[in-house]
Point group: C2
Chain length 205, copies 2
Amino acid sequence: MTTKKIPDIIIGRLPLYLRALERMANSGEIVTSSKELGEWVGISAAQIRKDISQFGEFGKQGTGYNIKFLSEKLREILNIDRVWDVAIIGAGDIGHGLARYQGFLERGFRVTLAFDNDPAKIGSKIGDIQVQDIDKMVDAINKSDVKVAMIAVPAEYAQDVADELAKTQVKAILNYAPICITVPEGVRVQYIDPATHLQWMTYYL
Amino acid sequence: MTTKKIPDIIIGRLPLYLRALERMANSGEIVTSSKELGEWVGISAAQIRKDISQFGEFGKQGTGYNIKFLSEKLREILNIDRVWDVAIIGAGDIGHGLARYQGFLERGFRVTLAFDNDPAKIGSKIGDIQVQDIDKMVDAINKSDVKVAMIAVPAEYAQDVADELAKTQVKAILNYAPICITVPEGVRVQYIDPATHLQWMTYYL
């Protein structure tokens, strides 16, 4: 694996390739091509070959990619050849859905902490996790291995939560609140925003 | 507005530009530049100018973009200068979260129908909407104006739901189930998959 700077947009495509490869593996496929992979993810074969070749020689001209091998390499590159502990902030509908989401563990994540500010929710369980008082969040996260957090609070609280997370070792935030948050240098944020996905599709209606 | 074929990847960036413009407008800004817009969305100023110029001349060299005007144009282009009725299939945690989501209406969407197969949920209300029996979905959607649906059922049911939706006029599906679905030609699908977002960020951890 090289250590040269790879464009972020390429990094963003690797999880899509990995997801497609895992689905192929589940269907019993052993080998794939950049063409087949491209059809699964809606990206050209040439782009896929170019993206993957940034990280090394993982396929052979004419024989394609071994699915298991390429999946393992992508997991290494994405640092998910391990399991990351994750905190959920906000134990409402979305927080519950995330805590119960079946797809995380096999893809590198395990929800281990949950927080809310609602006395009715504090102490209750979502999945196997007891919801803790958000006032204890900074301490609890700093005592844990959590470096990844998901914000699932109403928009008006999201920045406050982000400011508190800045006092912890959390370096990756997935934000479900429909608002842009400001974080310190070195912290990454991604947004889950259903409206932008819907708007992308209504163009074609 | 031109009718030439615009690459899908450009269409996908327009909702991000619109979201940033709406946030700027909410902060009282009147005018912006491709540079400022680029900083909001993490895309180069040159790319933004190129993307927007596909649709016409919406800004002036040196004076930038009028935020209100460009927002209106983007809404027209994305067909959200109207409100789309949306059906939710699956009244679990995610379905509830979506039905109560505050961000939809002002961004072009209104949830009007909800379905589930669980007798305990059928007849209950999520937000203002009564959950209907999924067996009545095809009829109910076909009697409605719904062309957009969100699938929020467990993975094992998602393809069955997609097959039933294929009997309706639904042409855009946002799939929260962690599984790839097959749909007829002419139907678009987008996926909400938190794990791919998290994996994008763990690369940097």
